[in-house]
Each structure stands twice: as structure tokens, then as C-alpha cells.
């Protein structure tokens, strides 16, 4: 039995390494720089490639109080949801998030219609309170996003933040802003490898380097189509490692926003007898969604519940022990 019992899959290509945050010397003001990507193996298979960076957890923070926030989350975030800066500081502190994902939902014409100026002030205020880079998301309303995110991009020029999302139908304005101001971008595709690839080509065609793009494959929560994104991500990542550089970007998965929309994360035990403790059930719904995405190749997870963040952070630490 001379032959060793091992099958190694060697990658031909590494995932692009993306840097978030710039320190004073590089034109920003961040004390902490974060990197994702750079790996040449499927998740946590250290024996057959490099995995230089642990996946990151970004805590989801919104500039507007969600009126239908599930009660479990509401309790866990009591006194924070109407103060985005305090909320962010709390998530970075005891909960242990690696960075903040700020969603400017309140700029949406139908949900607050806040101005670009308000958004800029919030982001600037937040940058003063945290040492890390930020993820800044628009409200999903294309025209307004183009105004708001361009303004925020300009105001934070040189900080090397991560802005999102651009989609196939609306990518030019924000991409141009990110090129001009030295930021990274999230490219969103609807659970579709071909569109993901096409969008990356479009973005790079207008001049954004490939190592400044993150793919948002659009995930579903546990029990709500999770398996589609799971397989799309595995397919894309396998293709990237086999040499397709237009798919060789890190993935971001919006775990919190999806998991907390699930009935299983919202319903109380009295409304659903036999379903167990609602707090734990909601937390585990977010945790298991996050873990499945990690297995599929997620590089950045956005999450909501502080306890879920703690559990997944510990899981990542354990998984990264080699």
C-alpha cells in the first residue's frame, strides 16, 4: 500500500484578494484594514490550497427603524434601532462583528425619502466612531441610489469602502463613482452564474479592476430557496478555481435580511406550539443560514442578531484552525 489515500484538487486560479479600508498613508482614515478572498481552495480545505483570510461578519445596520422588525430581533436590539451609530458601535463591540454593513433604506422615496446630505452625514459620523471600513448599501431604488451613493462615495473618497449593489440594469453611475473615489463595489445577480459573470465583465469594461468587485449571488434563507444560491456559489467558485477569472471574486451573502424574513424566525412559541423557544429558533435560523453559505464559499456574511453573530464568529474561528 504505497499509494497515499488522498485526492487533491489543485486550483489553476486564485480568487481575487480584495482590500477594504485605507489608512492615512494610503489616503483614508481607517485604523483597521480588512481583506477577503485570495484563496485557492474550496472552503476550509487547507490541505490543497491557500486560504489567507477568514470570512468576515458585517453587522447589518439601517438608517431607519423597520416597522415590521421580528420581535426577537427587536428585543435583542432594544434602544439601538433608531440610533444607527450607537447600534453600529454596539455590534462592533460586544457582539464582535468585523465591520458594519449600513443600509440606507431610509433614502427610499417610499420609506423615509432621506436626502443625500443626510446619508453623507450619517456615514461620516459612523466613520468617526469605528476604526474599520464600511459596507454602504442603497435602498434599491435605482435613481435615488445613483444620487445618494454617488454623494456618499465622493464624501468618503479614498476610504476604500464597499458600495452596493449594482445590477445589470443599473451599474454605470455607481461604478464610475467607485472608480473615481477609490472604492469597491458589490455586483448583484439573481441566482445566475451567467449574469454574475456578465455583470463583472460590464463593470470591468468601464474600468474597475477585478480585485475591487464582490459578487452578491442573491441568497434565500434556510428553507426559502437556500439551496439555489448554495449550488450557484459552488458552481461559480469551482469555475473560478478552474480558471474563470470573471467569476473569481469574493462572495457577499445577505444572511440577516433573508433569515429574519422567514416565518421560523418571526413566530412566537405560543403562535406555533411545538416549535421551541422563539429566541433560539430565530437565532439558529440565522446561524444555520450563515453556515450553509460559508460551506458554499461566502467571504462576507451580513448578519443581524448579536448572539447569532457571536455563534458564527466562534464557528469561523474553529473552522479556520488548521
Amino acid at each position: 500500500m504505497a499509494e497515499e489515500l488522498k485526492v487533491l484538487d489543485r486550483a489553476c486560479l486564485k480568487i481575487y484578494e480584495l482590500t477594504m479600508g485605507a489608512c492615512a498613508a494610503s489616503g483614508g482614515s481607517r485604523k483597521k484594514i480588512l481583506k477577503v478572498g485570495g484563496q485557492s481552495a474550496m472552503p476550509f480545505l487547507f490541505e490543497e490550497g491557500e486560504i489567507p483570510h477568514a470570512p468576515l461578519i458585517a453587522a447589518e445596520v439601517s438608517d431607519i427603524v423597520e416597522d415590521d422588525c421580528p420581535f426577537v430581533l427587536k428585543n435583542a436590539l432594544k434602544g439601538l434601532t433608531d440610533k444607527p451609530v450607537d447600534w453600529a458601535v454596539e455590534m462592533m463591540g460586544e457582539a464582535g462583528a468585523d465591520l458594519i454593513c449600513l443600509k440606507l433604506q431610509g433614502t427610499h422615496p417610499d420609506f423615509g425619502n432621506k436626502t443625500s446630505k443626510e446619508a453623507v452625514e450619517l456615514v461620516e459620523g459612523l466613520l468617526k466612531k469605528v476604526e474599520t471600513p464600511l459596507i454602504v448599501l442603497g435602498s434599491g431604488q435605482a435613481d435615488k441610489d445613483n444620487d445618494v451613493l454617488s454623494a456618499v462615495s465622493e464624501a468618503t473618497k479614498g476610504e476604500r469602502l464597499l458600495f452596493g449593489d449594482v445590477v445589470q440594469e443599473n451599474y454605470k453611475t455607481l461604478t464610475a463613482a467607485c472608480i473615481a473615489d477609490g472604492h469597491n463595489i458589490i455586483a448583484e445577480s439573481p441566482i445566475d452564474v451567467n449574469i454574475a459573470k456578465q455583470l463583472n465583465i460590464l463593470i470591468s469594461d468601464i474600468g474597475l479592476p477585478l480585485d475591487r468587485i464582490v459578487i452578491n449571488p442573491t441568497i434565500g434563507a434556510l428553507g426559502y430557496g437556500l439551496e439555489y444560491a448554495y449550488s450557484i456559489m459552488e458552481r461559480a467558485r469551482n469555475a473560478a478555481l478552474a480558471g474563470d477569472k470573471m467569476l473569481a471574486m469574493p462572495f457577499i451573502c445577505f444572511v440577516g435580511q433573508e433569515a429574519w424574513r422567514a416565518k421560523e424566525a418571526k413566530v412566537s412559541e405560543s403562535e406555533w406550539p411545538g416549535s421551541g423557544n422563539a429566541d433560539t429558533r430565530g437565532i439558529m435560523w440565522e446561524v444555520v443560514t450563515a453556515l450553509a453559505m460559508l460551506q458554499a464559499g461566502a467571504d462576507i456574511l451580513t448578519m443581524r442578531h448579536p448572539q447569532a453573530i457571536r455563534i458564527v464568529k466562534k464557528a469561523i474561528e474553529d473552522l479556520m484552525k488548521r
Binding site: 497515499e4 489515500l5 488522498k6 485526492v7 484538487d9 476550509f44 480545505l45 487547507f46 490541505e47 416597522d67 415590521d68 427610499h108 422615496p109 417610499d110 434599491g140 431604488q141 439573481p190 434565500g220 434556510l222 428553507g223 426559502y224 430557496g225 437556500l226 439551496e227 439555489y228 448554495y230 449550488s231 459552488e234 458552481r235 469551482n238 424574513r261 421560523e264 411545538g274 416549535s275 421551541g276 423557544n277 422563539a278 433560539t280 429558533r281 437565532i283 439558529m284 435560523w285 446561524v287 444555520v288 453556515l291 450553509a292 460551506q295 455563534i311 458564527v312 466562534k314 464557528a315 474553529d318 473552522l319 479556520m320 484552525k321 488548521r322
Partner: protein, 442 residues
Amino acid sequence: MALSGLDIYKLLPKTNCKKCGFQTCLAFAMQLAKKAIPLDKCPFVTPEVRAVLEQASQPAIRLVEIGSGEAKSSIGNETVLFRHEEKFHHPTAIGFILEDVLSESELNKAIEEINKCTFERVGQKIEVNLVALKETKSKDSKFINALKILLKKTTLGLVLMPKTTETLKTALEICASQKPLVYCSENSLLDSFATIAGNFRVPLAFRGSSVSELSSLTKKIVSRVPDIVLDVHSEKMSDYLWQLTQLRRLSIKKNERSVGFPTMVIADLTDEAASVVEASMFIAKYASIVLLKTRKPEYVLPLLTLRQNIFTDPQKPLQVEPAVYTIGAADDRSPVLITTNFSLTYYTVLGEIETSRIPSHLICVDTEGMSVLTAWAAEKFNAEKVADTLIKFKLEEKVRHKNLIIPGYVSMMSGDLEEKSGWKILVGPREAAGLPSYLKNL
């Protein structure tokens, strides 16, 4: 690994004698590859060729069955490393470890809790599969008593975890017909456990701390006990994952017989959340059995759901029942929306309507599980079909208006549909995400 028709053809006499009933040896080979006919039909196959073909017809990972009757679990026989390559065939069997020191009432309570871990999701029943009984001390053992209680109280598949050969023999005399999985916790006992399990024709699991250890041990026992389950163990999560990945790859890509067996992981950490973390990692990759200690529904339900997701056939998307779904406190004035019965479409639309907080009626047309655009292209979601569905579900009795919101992607059917149905057609947003603001501004 399965041979192709051409591979088999090369091993046949190639005389086209037609004794097998086919015109050519190639035609016969193609049927053999499909396992449509037995090899015996060819009178000229040599014993050597027979051995090669029989070996090749074995699955790369052995199918092992645990339990009997309705609660039987089949594990193993997987054919791919990633579900998108085909599908995962046999869902991870999920079970619970109980210790024999529990009193009769504690055992009864535990079984009651386990039996409650059954849920219904997207029209499927999802439930746990196994109960494992662990012997805690070899002196004054309560194992057999506890086993008798379990046999009375549950029909789930059993995993026996005795400490001695004596306990194992006594236990199997009582319950071998239930096809329990025998778990050998001490590899010094593996030899005798293999003989006993083999004699009683029940499967055997044992633990190894590396792929090569597992491989060398299966070679020693496989002739006595053909149904083996490999218990993978490590101090590190990444090493667990590495071993499980290697076992899967070695059997599927290299046809390595000595590790071509289902696998198991014991996730019995005292920290319940941490054990769910482990269990979910290994349901995704690549454990055939996961044993837990916690049996609280809030921990078990996410795991059963994950298993349902991962083991869904990617080629046969889950469907929801075609029907009219009432969202929130919808009444006869609430808006009516229509979509397909592809479950992902349905749940996405449902989620967005819920986000809007506008009580609504959502009609799911039977599109055989196709999404909106695919169904449109396949004529499963056209004006005729939608008009028929409105009549079939008696929408005119449910609401007192005649306004129907259709997905933006099929706006082209609106004129035709207005004519065919007599309803006023409102074109909704193309993506479900646009529904909250659409409904608010309606």
C-alpha cells in the same frame, strides 16, 4: 464506478452472435450499462470479465439500511461531490444519543420529545430518523433494560452503542430483526464486534481518526460485515471536513473500495448551539448520519430544514400546491396577485407581500414548478391558463372586485388575458422586490 456501454463492449466477445437477443454486442453492452438486463444473457462471458463487471456494478459508496418498516433509513450510495452535478441521493439520517443511565420515566420523556421532532415544510414531512442508546458503564449495565423500553416506545431506527461483546450479543438477540446499527466505540473490540454484527446481519459503525486508519480497518472486517459506517472524528472542524471530503472523493473519483461506505459524525457537544454548528456543517458535507444530544425543536428544526434544502433534487424544483393563498387578514376587497407554483418564486413573492404588510390574495397557478418566464415560454403560464385558474379557484366568489396583478415579466399577456377572463389586468413589478412599494401605491 459505473462503466459506460463502450467500456463494457470492450470486454464482450464482439462476435455479434445474437444469443443475448440483441443484434450486436454493442447494443447488449448499452443495455448492461443501463442495468436493464443481466449479464447471464451472454453465454460467452469469461469468469474474469464477469468479476470486473460485477465489481464495476457495485455503487462507489455502499448503500446501508438501518431500521425496518416505515422508519427504515437508507444511507450512502452517493454519486457526486456537489449537488449541482446531479443530486444527493440519501438524506443524512439525523438521530439522538440517549444514555442507558436514564430512568424509565426519563427515557419515556426523551422519546416523547424525539417523537415531537416532526414538522411539515413546503408540503413535505421532515422528521428525525434514529435513536442511539449508549452504554455508560460495563458493570451493572442498564443497557438491556433501557433497550427494551426503547423498543416499546419508538419505531425509529436504532443505533446500539454497547461497551462489551456480552451486552452486544444480548441486545442483538432481542432486536436484530429491527436491523439496528451497531456502533463500536473501542477499536480493541472491533474484531469481535464485526463477527457478531456479521452473524446477526446488521450494519457496523466504528471510529477512526484518519482516512488511512478507517481504510485499513474496513479491509480487516468487510468480509465478515459488509455493511459498514465510518465514524469520522477529529479535534478540529477543518480536519473533520477534510476527512469527509477525502472519503467522498476517494470513493467516487478513485473507486477506492476500502472507504466506499456511508459516514457518520457524532455532534454531542454540551453547548447546544455549537453542536448545531457542527451538525449543519456536516449535513452539507458529507455525513450520512449525524447524532445529536439536544432534542429541542428550536435546534432540530433548522437542521431538518437544512437537510431538506441540501438534498432537494436540483433538477426537480420543489413546488407548492396550486391554490389561492391568503396573506395577512385579507378580505374580499384585498388585492389579488398571481404567480407560478415554483416554490422559490412563491416564497419570494410571499415574503415581499408580507413585507408590504398589505393583506392580499396570492394565486399560484400550476406551472409544474416552473418559474414565471420559463412557464410563460412553455405555455404553462399564459392568458388561457390564468383565465382557467381564476375560474377553477372561484375567485369571483372570494373577492368583490375584478382586478388581477400579474408579474411584470408577463405584461405581454395582459390584453389577451383581459379578453379571456373579463378581469382588469394590472401589471405588477418585474421583480418581487418591487412589490412592497407597488402595493403601497396601489
